[in-house]
Symmetry: C3
Subunit: 495 residues, 3 copies
């Protein structure tokens, strides 16, 4: 009775939204809610606040193309005239879901995947698949160079006889570390029976769960997790458009995008004035809805100005990215394909540049494609800035890419010299020894910070806050270390 | 006249709140306000915005137990039917207050203490006394090991003859440093006469003032400061429930709880969507009032979901904490007693573990108590997450406790080796020399960051932002340092 | 038609604001808007939200002095009765603007300068000129010591023959780094013709553009940029009063003012409760409008309490600053003149103190002036705190200045010893070598952080977060480095 009453209210409260039609919850979803509004009240409440709970696919499709938030061609029949509730997602494509299980008469799966979301949002899911992010798991795990970096970071070390020994990282640690963002493999290990308030029930036992990583390998074979940004169970566009979502994975010293944004003029305007902005409209109107961009404005959203479309929505975020400034090892033109394990540099390593900076050009976008992408991005800039301003900004930014690459080269030359002279050894991996770790920080922390700062005019992140100051100091310390090491001729006494 | 008019307005403006009765300000408080609304307008205005200025104790007691914000049994008679104004707190328990002084005919004290607050909130004050926080002053100052750490951080150094000399820290520095959070001893040094707009007046001269530290030693002998979290003079529950309050002491690299929360999915939801949440209700309804937890939700508040109580309010925050992940030196089961100076490890030091990690078990809670506390915490999680999700999260978290302890052990072994081989010396303290400070960072900064990240799924704080990367690098640098040191056989030339 | 209709609406929407009169847009500005509302919709929309677009100078002048936001004596005639639109600023003082150019029949300039803003705000512009900030460009570029620091940070290094070579920084890098905050020289290099939607047009080519640095050298010879804080094109007082604006340049490890504020009790109150505060009123009423200060409250704003003026507005922010705690090299009494290149210490260097800390007293304010400024600042404090509280706070703060200077001296003595013994060399500059960079961090990062923390009671920034812990550790590492260096007698082998 309780649920029916709530549903009845919902119909009235939401009627007229988008379509004028009533918005019925399916019988299946109503059954879910009946129990789970008690067991997991937070989830149900979040969903009740969502657009999903208020608009049917048919209504979502019926608005003008510019305002449209769905991209399917055909309204999927059983779903056309019910709102998108629990059952609509968690019982969809059951046949592909290894995590599907019998649950009170339904075939339910735990992990809702991009393939499920593609029912209503096929264009976005397809675009998303062209991002490095969608391959974030494999790009890390299937690249032997990066795997060695992962091991050097996450493996436990022990100390004996004046030497540290590095062990392989365990699976739980990996899920708790790199894979939080890169994604885990969520697979079904088996099924377990649990005593519940409803009696004995069986549930799948999953590997790598929980996880909302952008490159998650799902039990239906798909990759990624829409809820990484469109946070469950409200899935709001407001959430995805505010910079905090991106900050979850883009805030560390390796990729300080959010930190830089936060101190940029754009970020300051967002923080100071954003309370009066409107984060929901599609298209997103620059000037009317917002007075400065967030991450999504420049990289993702369908943006309009004064009624005209400025840029089309894209979930292939690199559509507007000429460069990959997050350099392993040097900043370089953006890779062509989302799977970066196919790249081979001159030395045969799966890296987008040589150790000395030369790009593995055939795997990277052309100068012409860079121009196109730069132009697309600049269209957003031009909504609030003059051509002169925008060109000046990009000239500086691309100069900074060049100069930070030179500083990476200088540090690399120190390391190459250390390897050559036997002060360090490349044999046990590129990332294990103290001097190698300093070298990693040169490009992964300091050069990256400087470039992110330059890209968004983030002031001190390009100077003292892990920027040029750190690059300059690290370089001096690497050189000094090498000199000390070469002076110490005798082997250390054994304990 | 001015004040009376304001009070008259207040009665009307607030009538009906909670009780329907008029809310009179006591004559004593009215007298305070008459002057202080001019001299300290900010304080008076803040109080006027507070619930204290609007609800009498009788009214506060009269609501249903679940909604109740006071915990006294008997309404304290002179206070029952006036709102809680200046005089109600600042003249309370005068006889116990060494800081009490004659002030325009009143016996006033400066420092309002938990013992004063206990008049209306005895249960909370009692619970709070069971926290490590309530003993934060003594736990630091009366533990010789920690005192030595304090000295190594806050003592001024000088340089002569190629050696640095460490001096004892001065009292002002200590009040400005560690004791800002841990609390000072607020004692009465004497009384001073000052020329004021009201003529000559006498005021107490206090040691360690100002201070709102959680373990403050008060002039009435009580410990702590409720206003550390319930900021004066608004004392709002909104303030205590928002994460910024906790961040004041839990943000540094030693205890990055807020930083991790901020980049966690929970934190992102709070930042993006929190503007629409409700921070005032008691109980606090998950889903309805908030869509994601703040610090207070998991650690303190009376939380309900769909009308049912999920967890009871507790001001003994460790009620929901199986582990103390802030390890000096290793993470360990939570101490039984708030006073940690009573702990003795095998080596006889007042530390919860041995240098090699073995817990001083008799002073720490049992595995069974850990299970109970874990279960209490998980009840909050289960409001929005499935059992499988929650178990998966805790399995990872407890694995990370184990692995970070292993990384602390590895670093400790380097230090023990350095001490043994004479490359460093334990005699002058555990924390003074460069290599000892690196060792401290291993557990105090990096292992802690990794564990906090794991506890809240804070992504990069467990990897590159002071997490595993830093542990791994620090370990390599410690080993390298030891080798350098052992190679340098001759003593340095004397200047 | 479109624009006229908008203007018509505007008159009605805004009539009555401040003056009751209609608020007409000038014909010139209307002509700008007609095209630019399409080409740069964001700018026009921002302006439409601004007070500039709603209030004429005559109306702005007509309010009571306390509420007044303009400071001119005579209403500038052509501007008196139109709102301040595009043309009013971008065609003003054309004769002085080297960046002025023919644009559709108007003489337009790109860069609006303090000299332009002074038409309506002469007092503020004049005060601003007395800040170090207004000389931020020259203070950095015309001081040979600081220039050498700039080079050591921004110059690219290369590595050959076991030595690093430092090159001069290029102009684009400087604009992207230090000069983002300090300001660039914006000069006219020439004019370029560009194909636009309106046909071929000519635009000035500017050096150092874009830039909003506080010490920008403008094409009309003036210094600074009001839009650094009063962000274009909304120019709102809300923006300038919220702490994010200041954070753009005051957030790095060298000057962590915002970071400290953020974790201070004041900052926590702002973050938790600020959503209900009022950032627009002039004067700004403590208690009524805000319950805790932001940067602007203490350093800039016209503040009142309970109807009385507490402090007058000042755009010479050092009016309330007894000390310059951002020490190059030691904290010291605030410099008298904004141009710090005139300072000479005993050694003849343009530094406010000797290397050993003795102030270059004749260039710094007197103890009496310090007392005056301290008293002005304390007036703000006293709005919410007792005299005892405020004095206790300042006693600690000034002790911390002293103690951090002592820690800087200790580190300086290590460096002086290194120079003397030939372990490092002063000849190639003070900031290039690894040990010199460590020394810089002692005062620029750690002593500064500790002092900022002390000034605002920012807890961990004075202890573990780049505070005393870092000073103590850095000191030990500097000493250890020196010992290592002196032990290594032989020169390193040449490659």
């Amino acid at each position: 009775m309780k649920f029916l009453f709530a549903a009845f209210l919902a119909v009235f409260a939401f009627s007229g939204e988008a379509s004028g039609a009533d918005v019925p919850v399916s019988e299946d979803s109503a059954a879910c809610i009946e129990c789970h509004s008690t067991f997991n009240a937070g989830i149900v409440s979040a969903w009740e606040k969502s657009r999903m709970s208020k608009v049917t696919p048919r209504a979502a499709k019926s608005v003008a193309p510019k305002q449209r938030r769905v991209s399917f061609d055909q309204i999927p029949d059983p779903f056309a005239d019910v709102v998108v509730g629990c059952a609509e997602c968690h019982t969809l494509n059951s046949e592909n879901h290894k995590d599907s299980f019998e649950h009170n008469g339904y075939k339910v799966h735990v992990v809702v995947t991009p393939q499920d979301c593609a029912t209503c949002h096929p264009v976005e899911v397809n675009q998303y698949g062209k991002n490095l992010m969608s391959e974030a798991y494999g790009n890390l795990e299937n690249n032997p160079v990066y795997r060695s970096l992962v091991k050097s970071v996450t493996g436990v070390q022990s100390f004996k006889g004046l030497a540290a020994t590095l062990m392989d990282p365990d699976e739980l640690t990996l899920s708790d570390a790199c894979r939080q963002c890169h994604g885990t493999v969520v697979d079904v290990k088996g099924f377990a029976t649990r005593e519940t308030d409803q009696g004995e029930m069986s549930f799948p036992v999953l590997t790598g769960w929980p996880n909302q990583g952008v490159g998650r390998i799902n039990p239906d074979g798909s990759k990624g997790s829409c809820s990484a940004c469109h946070t469950r169970h409200q899935f709001g566009i407001e959430m995805a458009r505010k910079p905090y979502t991106c900050s979850q994975c883009h805030k560390g010293p390796d990729v300080p995008a959010y930190k830089v944004y936060e101190v940029s003029k754009h970020g300051n305007m967002y923080s100071a004035l954003g309370h009066g902005w409107n984060f929901d409209p599609v298209p997103w109107n620059i000037g009317k809805d917002i007075s400065a961009p967030t991450c999504a404005t420049c990289h993702v959203s369908l943006v309009s100005a004064d009624g005209d479309i400025v840029v089309e929505r894209t979930h292939q975020m690199n559509d507007r990215l000429p460069w990959r400034i997050f350099g392993p090892i040097y900043a370089h033109p953006h890779p062509k394909a989302p799977d970066t394990t196919i790249i081979k540099n001159k030395a045969g390593l799966p890296l987008p540049t040589d150790l000395t900076g030369e790009p593995a050009a055939e795997y990277l976008i052309s100068a012409e494609e860079q121009r196109e992408r730069r132009k697309t991005m600049q269209k957003v800039c031009l909504s609030c800035h003059s051509q002169t301003w925008v060109e000046g900004h990009f000239e500086r930014f691309e100069n900074t890419i060049k100069k930070t690459n030179e500083m990476t080269l200088a540090a690399t030359n120190v390391l190459l010299s250390a390897w050559k002279k036997g002060a360090a050894s490349q044999k046990d991996g590129l990332f294990n020894e103290a001097i190698e770790k300093r070298w990693v920080e040169q490009w992964l922390f300091y050069a990256n910070s400087t470039r992110f700062s330059s890209a968004m005019a983030g002031a001190d992140y390009g100077v003292f806050a892990n920027g040029r100051w750190a690059m300059a100091k690290n370089m001096q310390e690497m050189v000094e270390w090498l000199k000390f090491k070469l002076q110490a001729k005798e082997p250390p006494p054994r304990s």
